[in-house]
């Protein structure tokens, strides 16, 4: 198919964009894998100790033993706490009141204040949780009471992702984003560009069936997406350590459907766009922004107000990302994906018919 070859040439001639198209997924993956982490690493902590007795010293030592906290400063004035937060030097301050050891020994629970910088809510909560459990356990050790209410401690199973790695959640999101970007956005821009430059007219004069012409335009981006998909999967498995628990063939089949949805979307956009700029803006605003915000890549859909949750059902990426999470991370089979597959197939059919129709009208 000479036309397909022509399209490939068009793309590769623009080296910079091609490079970016191949490298972008890698970078995004690395970013999402490493940067978007909600793990709480070693945090800078301060202490204000009004007692400075054996008990407080022991507790402070235990706090640092876990590796979660780095004792950076011993404050001699509680008024400095707010200042330290403002300067960004401390994440939390542990405050012991006077006569701590004596109160503890007498069995009257002394107070420990944990003052955390609340500007990062989840971080603050996690820090407080860690500190509370370390301090409570250590205090019990001091009192000689190590027996706990062990009978009621439940066995906790963290399903699918026991080490709570952030990458498990984000990799499917990156896949959705990249495939949309390449297929939908790039296809729409390339077709719009031909229209803008007037070369579309030249192509239409040829004896080639116009619809096949359009299809030829989508083929290179289809191939590029497959390459990207392979790259992402390889990197996820070998670099980020995200397993593919489910069947690889299910994953690929499912992804193919999503690719078709996006290609159709790209065609549709380009058929209504008059120029590259418009195609770009539309695919940027109408596609990327809702995808990033609503599809569950980063922000849990569960937290959103009802209107947005409803709206997210229209975003194809939402179904794709959900399905990929099911296959890749949860290891479910194709049967469990019936809802996502049906929705995506439906969308694909709808969009393909719509875009073919739109093109037929425009071309004749």
């Amino acid at each position: 198919m000479a036309f397909v070859r022509k399209e490939f040439h068009h793309i590769f001639r623009d080296r910079v964009t091609t490079a970016i198209l191949l490298v972008l997924p890698v970078i995004l993956l690395l970013l999402f894998g490493y940067a978007i982490s909600t793990e709480v690493r070693s945090s800078k902590v301060g202490v204000f100790d009004a007692s400075n007795d054996e008990a407080t010293r022991y507790l402070i030592e235990q706090l640092q033993a876990g590796g979660h906290f780095m004792l950076v400063e011993r404050l001699d004035n509680p008024a400095l706490i707010e200042q330290r937060f403002r300067e960004g030097r401390l994440a939390m301050v542990v405050v012991f009141g006077p006569h701590f050891g004596a109160t503890l020994g007498a069995g009257k629970a002394p107070q420990i204040e944990l003052i955390a910088d609340g500007t990062d809510p989840n971080n603050a909560k996690t820090l407080v949780n860690y500190a509370s459990s370390i301090l409570t356990t250590s205090a019990q050790q001091l009192q000689g009471k190590v027996e706990q209410v062990a009978v009621l401690e439940p066995v906790v199973r963290l399903l699918y992702n026991p080490t709570m790695k952030g990458a498990y959640n984000f990799v499917p999101g990156v896949m959705g984003m990249i495939l949309t970007l390449i297929c939908a956005m790039m296809t729409s821009i390339s077709i719009a560009r031909e229209k803008e430059q007037g070369t579309m007219e030249l192509l239409l004069v040829s004896p080639m069936n116009p619809l096949l012409l359009i299809v030829a335009k989508t083929v290179p981006y289809f191939v590029l997406s497959l390459v990207n998909l392979a790259t992402i999967l390889l990197l996820s498995v070998f670099l980020l350590g995200v397993p593919i628990v489910g069947s690889l063939s299910t994953l690929i089949l499912f992804s193919l459907i999503f690719l078709f949805v996006n290609l159709a979307l790209g065609l549709l956009i380009s058929s209504v766009a008059g120029s590259q700029m418009v195609a770009l803006l539309v695919s940027g605003m109408v596609l990327m922004i809702p995808i990033i915000m609503l599809s569950g890549i980063m922000f849990p859909v569960e937290n959103m107000p009802a209107f947005f949750r409803w709206l997210s059902n229209i975003v194809p990426a939402k179904w794709y990302i959900g399905g990929i999470r099911k296959v890749m991370i949860m290891g479910l089979d194709l049967k469990s994906l019936w809802l996502e597959t049906t929705v995506l197939t439906g969308m694909a059919v709808l969009l393909i018919t719509a875009s073919l129709k739109a093109f037929k009208d425009r071309l004749t």
Binding site: L31, F85, R86, A109, A116, T119, P154, N161, M293, N303
Partner: protein, 368 residues
């Protein structure tokens, strides 16, 4: 000379039907909608309960979990496997299994075999929801112990948490300043670059190039309008933040404007550098998009820099957005002053000089 150029730029801008509307509407839309979406809170966790004991204690525990406010009791299932099915269908996030003989074991002081399983694909959500549930169970245990043994097993210390600056730990509070910065970055970064590259494609830049206007004035004339727009947009954002969330900057607005001025300069400079090297609009957009994405995610906008691996934390020093996000949050939420943030100011100033200098030097009037 510069004044004429500026006049031309402003006129072109205002004549464009799209731009002025974008400038006014986008801040409102983003500030209003984004915090509603950008919420990492863990609450309303869907729970499936498997109760194989059906004893009063079991019912009490279930009721306690339900009334804790964190969980929504979605459904009950007869076995663990069926309960797991609800997790696979994404109907539930957490499963609580109360085994047969729960009450008997509890009263006899034996291990009860209570089990909690949480969907941890989202690690933070899984971790926090399972620890909430454990907290409720621990409270239940203390209650039972107190009833039965009289002297309860008391906590040795009383932990009092306090959250400075954000007592209710609201995510909106954290997100709004960050969003302001994002809007500012998008506009000051993309628009000048887009402007120059599209002029180049249209060919009107050639006309400018043949005039005796200096590179410096040309670049400046492109920069200043968007700089001004940045201020306008920022002000609209402040208004929107107050209007929708009642949020006012604790540290006043003057410090923010100072930072915005520097940041706008730095980031537009960056956009211009990109435009000098991009040969088409599409290419320019992609390069910008690429860098903006990298900057945004390493800036601590969504997730804290302290959570990143050490090598990435060091690399994030190269992102102008990082300084801006930290500074903006610090001023808005904590009331930090310019003095507190001296190093951030310095970093942004350095970026501004480097990028703008590079933009001016790399602008070539005679291009092939």
């Amino acid at each position: 000379m510069l004044s004429f150029l500026l006049e031309k730029e402003f006129k072109q801008l205002l004549r464009n039907k799209f731009m002025p509307r974008l400038i006014v509407i986008m801040p409102f839309a983003v500030v209003a909608l984004f915090p509603m979406v950008a919420n990492f809170d863990v609450k309303d966790v869907d729970l499936t309960v498997v109760d194989n004991d059906h004893s009063p204690y079991a019912r009490r525990l279930i009721e306690k979990v339900r009334s804790s406010g964190f969980f929504k009791l979605q459904t009950t299932a007869p076995t663990y496997d069926l309960a797991l099915q609800t997790v696979e269908d994404l109907e539930a996030d957490v499963v609580l299994v109360i085994p047969k003989g729960f009450e008997r074991d509890l009263t006899m002081g034996r291990q009860t075999g209570l089990m909690v399983a949480a969907n941890s694909v989202n690690g933070m959500r899984g971790g926090l929801s399972s620890s909430y549930l454990m907290g409720v169970v621990a409270d239940f245990a203390a209650e039972i112990a107190e009833e039965r043994l009289g002297a309860g097993i008391k906590q040795p210390v009383e932990i009092v948490p306090r959250y400075q600056f954000n007592p209710r730990l609201s995510y909106t509070y954290t997100m709004v300043p960050a969003i302001l910065m994002m809007v500012l970055a998008m506009l000051t970064g993309f628009l000048p670059a887009l402007n120059i590259v599209s002029e180049r494609e249209k060919g009107t830049i050639e006309q400018m190039n043949v005039t005796p206007v200096s590179r410096f004035s040309l670049i400046l004339s492109k920069l200043i309008p968007y700089w001004v727009i940045g201020f306008v947009v920022l002000t609209i954002c402040f208004f929107a933040a107050w209007l929708f969330y009642g949020m006012v900057s604790t540290g006043g607005y003057l410090a923010i404007y100072c930072f915005a001025a520097l940041f706008g300069l730095a980031f537009s400079g960056f956009g211009l550098v990109v435009s000098n090297y991009a040969s088409s609009v599409q290419q320019g957009m992609f390069i910008m998009f690429f860098f903006v994405i990298v900057f945004i995610f390493t800036s601590g906008l969504y997730t804290p820099v302290s959570s990143m691996p050490p090598w990435l934390q060091t690399a994030s020093h190269l992102s102008p957005l990082r300084y801006m996000v930290e500074a903006l949050r610090a001023i808005f939420l904590k009331g930090s002053s310019l003095a507190d943030l001296g190093s951030h100011l310095g970093a942004l100033a350095a970026f501004a000089m480097v990028f703008n200098g590079w933009a001016i030097l790399s602008y070539r009037k005679s291009r092939g």
